[in-house]
Symmetry: C2
Subunit: 188 residues, 2 copies
């Protein structure tokens, strides 16, 4: 198996992991943002194929600021939030990162599939129950996707930011169908 290409280094000793890229990218798209802005934005978009807990979105910007990739502006009074913006170095780092395509593809890490793999220890009823539940979870996920699509309007459907959603839909449909088939006709 190959080394993890999802992690790049920049300058002297700075790890750039998924969270770093999310933060740089989000600020790039949205302009100057507070951690809470990032949290909200991520929840509305990226989180449907990759949910990041909010705690990461508070720590990471500070790290990137110390490395000179973000600038920070503090608000006085009220919530006293910190607003981060891309520096020139930050933008450079972002586009450079985007120039290196990853060497690997996704891994499912799916508990339900693991259970199915060990399905020989399950009764037919248990297997069907598992399959129906999964299929329904995918159905509600698909509803969520649909509402995101309409919220963004069909017109801008073909944008790059929306492409991951279209992939998510196809995969969720495939999973829904798969589990439906298992539920209808459990393998021996």
């Amino acid at each position: 198996m190959s080394a993890d290409e999802s992690v790049n280094k920049v300058g002297v000793e700075l790890r750039l992991g998924p969270v770093s890229c999310l933060v740089l990218g989000m600020i790039g798209l949205r302009g100057p943002s507070t951690p809470y802005d990032l949290k909200k934005a991520a929840e509305r978009s990226v989180s449907y194929f990759w949910p990041f807990p909010h705690s990461q979105l508070y720590g990471e910007p500070e790290r990137l600021a110390k490395a000179g990739l973000l600038s920070r502006e503090d608000e006085y009074g009220g919530r006293r939030r910190k607003r981060y913006a891309l520096t020139e170095a930050g933008r450079k780092t972002l586009v450079t990162w985007l120039q290196v395509p990853p060497d690997d593809i996704f891994e499912m890490h799916d508990m339900a599939v693991l259970q199915l793999f060990f399905g020989e220890f399950m009764t037919e009823q248990e297997l069907s129950a598992l399959a129906r539940k999964q299929a329904n979870l995918y159905r509600s996920r698909l509803e969520t996707y649909a509402s995101i699509e309409v919220a963004n309007g069909k017109r801008i459907d073909r944008t790059r930011r929306m492409a991951p959603l279209r992939l998510g839909i196809r995969l969720a449909e495939a999973c829904r169908d798969f589990w439906d088939e298992i539920a209808d006709d459990p393998p021996p």
Copy 2:
């Protein structure tokens, strides 16, 4: 977001995570096994939707043995390996775990998709390169899947252990097609 249902507790203070289940399940399927057996078995099957590093397969059996879910038999001379077998408690724990279907569905955690999401910072060439590379990675993954299928013979295709592979194939095909489309016709 709901609590992580992939982790169950049994008895007093024993975490049952994905690795525990893999170990219990694999030993259930194969009979008494050494950690190396588990490693090899996992590589040939489960690893294509969930790769576990071998170091986990050495530590975990010992934990489970201490908890009484596995029995251990040491080999003298030669490699002096440790062979673990399911105890009655272990088998019970396994089937009990399998009776609780997970509450959540898979998350992609896919770097390439994250890059696509931030594709506004990429040139059309970079985007196409990313897409072609991903599509090819999925193609070779599909070849691997195909060889697994023939290795197991078409006859036992419809078994439960093989079902995850069929899902993997569908998903990989969906991803391959998706990236092919992006490569052929990059969104603006």
